[in-house]
């Protein structure tokens, strides 16, 4: 892993910010589509030539397509000449426009999310894109992996999972296990009352009924690794060298799945600062 001087990093970060600000208008539209759930979904869409793979970029846990990492990837790919669609999962909110906080009421499920992913892939396919590459960030990578594990569209040719996580990967296993067990019990009892759970970066404040919690925590470490191994399409994994949400063993385990794992030294979970360029380079590299 290589490191850059701090002054250079800062210069690159500033340049990236400028590029972001002045490149957004380049062909990016906001599209709203009525989803199978009846709600409207919102996505950022950049139309490019059909000859190049269309990219679906999915944001992480409770964020939107406007999340920085996602946006930079979308912009990168749009500049690269790819058609880019970056939808925002509704999470049960019609045309959701902002991130949802942990302590908001969560009535959405992973299954609902997968339906919306499937909808947007169909939406791309319906626009003539027969070569679709999925790029996810964090939980978005997990959901795309889950989508591939379920019944993926034939046009989906590849998954690039950045900062791939599993459901309890952020927290102590014991706590999550206890909460999952409690949720399973309540769920079995038909209890749909709101509870505070620990999920992803939400620490005991993910407010949701048990079934919601259970839908997301179903994707455990083992299930992720299994899914990677069983993926119908090639999976490229890009991980930050200093992503402290996981132990190093996780990267090793990922590498053992057969997926192409690229480690960007020094990068955090969000590939911030100059590591964003490394991420871009890695993605472009994955796309080739």
């Amino acid at each position: 892993m290589s490191t850059l001087p701090i002054t250079r990093r800062m210069a690159l970060a500033g340049l990236a910010l400028l590029i972001l600000l002045f490149s957004l208008p380049l062909g990016a539209d906001t599209v709203q589509e009525k989803l199978p759930s009846g709600r409207y979904g919102v996505a950022s869409f950049h139309q490019a030539e059909l000859s190049k793979p269309a990219i679906l970029v999915l944001h992480g846990f409770l964020t939107t397509h406007n999340f920085n990492t996602v946006m930079s990837i979308a912009e990168l790919l749009a500049e690269n000449g790819n058609t880019v669609l970056a939808p925002t999962m509704t999470l049960g909110i019609n045309a959701r426009q902002g991130g949802l906080s942990c302590d908001a009421i969560h009535t959405h499920t992973l299954e609902g999310d997968l339906e919306e992913i499937a909808f947007w892939i169909d939406w791309l396919n319906n626009r003539g894109h027969k070569h679709i590459v999925l790029i996810g960030h964090s939980s978005g990578s997990l959901e795309l992996l889950a989508y591939l594990n379920k019944n993926p569209h034939p046009a989906v040719k590849k998954l690039i999972a950045t900062s791939l996580v599993y459901a309890d990967g952020f927290n102590a296993t014991t706590l999550v296990e206890q909460q999952i067990a409690a949720a399973q019990q309540k769920h079995r009892q038909g209890d749909r009352s709101l509870q505070s759970y620990t999920l992803s970066y939400c620490r005991n404040n993910f407010l949701a009924p048990p079934y919601v919690y259970l839908s997301y925590t179903a994707w455990t470490r083992e299930r992720v690794l299994t899914a990677l191994k069983q993926s119908p399409v090639p999976v490229g994994i890009i991980m930050g060298g200093k992503d402290n949400r996981f132990q190093e063993v996780w990267v090793q385990e990922l590498q053992q799945t057969g997926a192409e794992v690229l480690i960007i030294p020094g990068a955090t979970h969000f590939f911030d600062s100059h590591h964003e360029f490394d991420l871009h380079d890695a993605i472009l590299s994955q796309l080739e």
């Binding site: 709203q32 009525k34 709600r39 409207y40 049960g92 909110i93 019609n94 045309a95 959701r96 426009q97 902002g98 949802l100 906080s101 302590d103 908001a104 009421i105 009535t107 709101l194 407010l207």
Partner: protein, 743 residues
């Protein structure tokens, strides 16, 4: 001397207090005026600040309203609102729990509510403080428990079909915290803003504003200015109080104290007690006061000199006032003063007093004969000799003319007689011939004694001495001591004669002129009548022999003559004096020398054309005051009066005087007629004198004709007119002579 002084005067201390008090009053007045002005400015500033605060509060409420609108829009656009409207399963929890935690809305938003598109709350029953169903007014103010709240209801639109309302949000803002949060008050005291309860919902700011209490922020400038002025006033007051005390001290020390010392000094001087000013020691740091002190010292020095001079002059003046300038003896004033003192002394002590009255015999004749200078020398010699004859300490007074007096205390009558005798002998043997006086000079002494405490006896002493003197003049003995018999026999100076004379002077009706014929020798006809005075008295008539000694003694000649002239004028008016004749009037020396004689004879002027009016004067009366007498006689001649020289030949008649005097008639005294009989030589002399007078153009009247022989003698002598009892006796009514003889 009366000094004009101010009606109101003030002491220096009072003036200082007045000035200082005035200064303090002016200062306090200015201070109060300044404070009032400051208060006015503050009042105006307060009004302006109140106006500004009111406007500011209006702006704040407007901003709050806008803020509520923005909050409503923002809240309505929130994802979770969309979530709750579409999936209200957990709305109650969301509103009660979630909204309390999330900071989606400011803290001053005290409650929220979501309504579905029908305007009903999402859950029933609703537990919020917002109304259900949705009110008509989308924004309004309410008052609850002295708190004002702003309600804002905002529609929530479908995110796809933006014209479709899917529900409403309602927010409730606590007005006062909201105002403080969104608005920075620069004119209003934030902690003073309070709401007043109002019953109904109010939709406009103008309606709400009256229910908001507030206080404008104090103006730092005006407050600072006021405090600055008060501070300065306080300090100036303290400074002024100090200045007043300092001024009072300085004034008292440097001005008042020295001036008070000077005033005390002056008052001491005024009281006649010269004090040692020069030794007065006090700090005179003020030039003017120092100068004043020096001036006062000089003034005091000069005053002392003036006092000394005045004392000397007083002594001199007293000496002049109490001494006779001619003789150096005490004068009448000194006698009067001593007499008063003696009278007082006599009341307290039993003392014997002898009053000696000296008078020179025939002094008038000597004076007339030898002139005033010799007369004066004679008086001085007599005075000097009398003083020498008296004992040491005995005072000699010149009472007037040739009359002297001496008061001898506690001396026996023999001793007093001895003193008088010594005086007489001294004068008798003095060589007066050295003065050219050939006749012997002698004096008479009248003595009156009193012993005991009878004040009346004392007061009678001068009159008693007068009577004694009168008797001495009449007798051969030159010294006469008053006896009671003298008082009883005296008629000349009896009180009733004096009273009659004085009464006649006051009331000239008491004077009854009698007229004695003066006949022309050549025609044996009446030429005119001489008026001879008689006084009417209860006991009968008083004749000139008794009248004139009183008049002479009391110097009443002029006043008595005025009465005679008035009586004669009355007789002329009554036509008592026949026309074609006339009347002669005797004028005393005193009347003759009066400057305003013409005023008294003016009543006679109308009769000059019908009567001959003759003014008879004596030679001595003219000589005594020759100039004034001559002037008056000339004026009488000019007016038409005839001037007759009476008693010619009775004294030391001088031809020189006769030649110089304006006289028309010369009346020979009876003594001249009698002289003719003494010897042929005397007759020749008188005849020659008569001839000389007649040849000089004078008419010559021989008076005192008492028999035929004398009448023939004077006719032969050459008298032009004759008068006497042989010719005619004085009568009251001359023209009724035959009938009037019985009157």
């Amino acid at each position: 001397m009366k000094i004009k002084s101010h009606k109101f005067t003030f002491s220096l201390h009072t003036l200082l207090i007045l000035f200082l008090t005035g200064g303090i009053i002016v200062f306090v007045g200015l201070g109060i005026h300044l404070l009032l002005k400051v208060q006015q400015v503050n009042q105006a500033a307060t009004t302006e600040r109140f106006t500004n605060a009111n406007m500011e509060l209006t702006r704040a409420l407007q901003k709050l309203t806008q803020n509520a609108t923005d909050l409503g829009l923002r809240f309505s656009a929130w994802d979770e609102v969309q979530q709750q409207l579409l999936t209200p399963t957990y709305y109650a929890y969301w509103r009660e729990q979630r909204m309390r935690k999330v900071r989606q809305l400011p803290e001053y938003v005290v409650d929220i509510e979501l309504y579905n598109f029908d305007g009903k709350t999402l859950v029933q029953p609703h537990t919020s403080s917002l109304p259900n169903p949705l009110p008509t007014d989308k924004s309004y103010f309410t008052s609850e428990n002295n708190h004002s709240f702003l309600y804002r209801f905002t529609p929530v639109y479908d995110r796809i079909d933006t014209r479709k309302i899917i529900g409403y949000t309602g927010i409730k803002l606590d007005v006062l915290p909201a105002l403080l949060a969104i608005y920075h008050f620069s004119h209003t005291r934030a902690d003073s803003i309070k709401s007043i309860s109002f019953a109904e919902s109010l939709t406009s700011i103008d309606e709400v504003l009256p229910y908001v209490e507030f206080e404008p922020l104090p103006s730092p400038q005006s407050s600072h200015l006021e405090s600055l002025i008060k501070w300065n006033l306080l300090h100036f007051s303290i400074l002024m109080a100090g200045m007043v005390l300092l001024l009072y001290f300085l004034f008292s020390y440097f001005l008042k104290r020295p001036l008070a010392t000077l005033v005390k000094q002056i008052n001491t001087l005024r009281a006649g007690n010269p004090s040692p000013l020069l030794e007065s020691q006090f700090p005179l740091a003020v030039t003017e006061i120092d100068t004043l002190k020096e001036s006062l010292i000089r003034y005091q020095y000069d005053l002392d000199k003036v006092h000394s001079k005045l004392d000397r002059q007083n002594v001199e003046l007293w000496h002049l006032a109490h001494h006779d300038p001619l003789t150096g003896t005490y004068n009448r004033r000194a006698f009067d003063d001593d007499w008063v003192h003696l009278t007082e002394l006599f009341q307290d002590q039993r003392i014997s007093i002898s009053y000696l009255l000296f008078d020179c015999d025939h002094f008038k004749a000597i004076n007339d004969t030898y002139g005033h200078q010799i007369g004066d020398d004679l008086i001085k010699i007599i005075a000097s000799n009398l003083q020498q004859c008296l004992r040491k300490g005995d005072k000699l007074y010149r009472l007037g003319g040739d009359e002297f007096a001496a008061i001898i205390l506690n001396t026996s009558t023999e001793g007093v007689a001895y003193l008088a005798e010594r005086c007489i002998k001294t004068i008798q043997f003095y060589p007066f011939r050295d003065l050219g006086i050939r006749e012997p000079v002698s004096i008479c002494v009248g003595i009156a004694n009193a012993e005991g405490t009878d004040l009346n006896e004392l007061k009678a002493l001068p009159r008693h001495a007068d009577l004694a003197m009168y008797h001495a003049k009449k007798s051969s003995a030159k010294i006469q001591v008053y006896t009671q018999k003298m008082g009883e026999d005296s008629s000349i100076l009896s009180s009733h004669i004096v009273n009659a004379v004085l009464a006649a002077i006051k009331d000239d009706d008491r004077i009854l002129p009698h007229y004695q014929e003066i006949r022309r020798c050549n025609t044996n006809t009446v030429s005119f009548y001489e008026a001879l005075v008689r006084l009417k008295d209860v006991d009968g008539m008083i004749y000139p022999g008794d009248i004139f000694p009183v008049i002479n003694r009391h110097a009443l000649g002029a006043e008595f003559d005025h009465g005679i002239i008035a009586a004669i004028q009355r007789d002329l008016e009554a036509d008592i004096i026949p026309h074609g004749t006339g009347v002669s009037i005797n004028l005393s020396a005193a009347a003759l020398i009066e400057p305003d004689l013409d005023r008294h004879i003016v009543g006679l002027l109308p009769y000059l054309h019908s009567h001959t009016i003759v003014m008879e004067v004596t030679e001595t009366s003219i000589i005594s005051h020759l100039n004034q007498a001559t002037d008056n006689l000339k004026e009488l001649q000019r007016l038409g009066f005839i001037i007759a020289l009476d008693d010619f030949g009775s004294g030391y008649s001088s031809i020189r005087y006769l030649a110089n005097m304006p006289v028309d008639i010369v009346k020979f005294d009876i003594a001249m007629i009698q002289t003719m009989r003494e010897s042929p030589r005397n007759r020749k002399i008188v005849e020659h004198i008569a001839k000389m007078i007649r040849d000089a153009g004078y008419l010559l009247i021989a008076e005192g004709i008492e028999d035929q022989k004398t009448l023939e003698l004077v006719i032969e002598m050459g008298a032009t007119h004759v008068q006497g009892f042989h010719i005619d006796k004085p009568v009251r009514l001359p023209h009724k002579l035959p009938n009037a003889s019985n009157q």
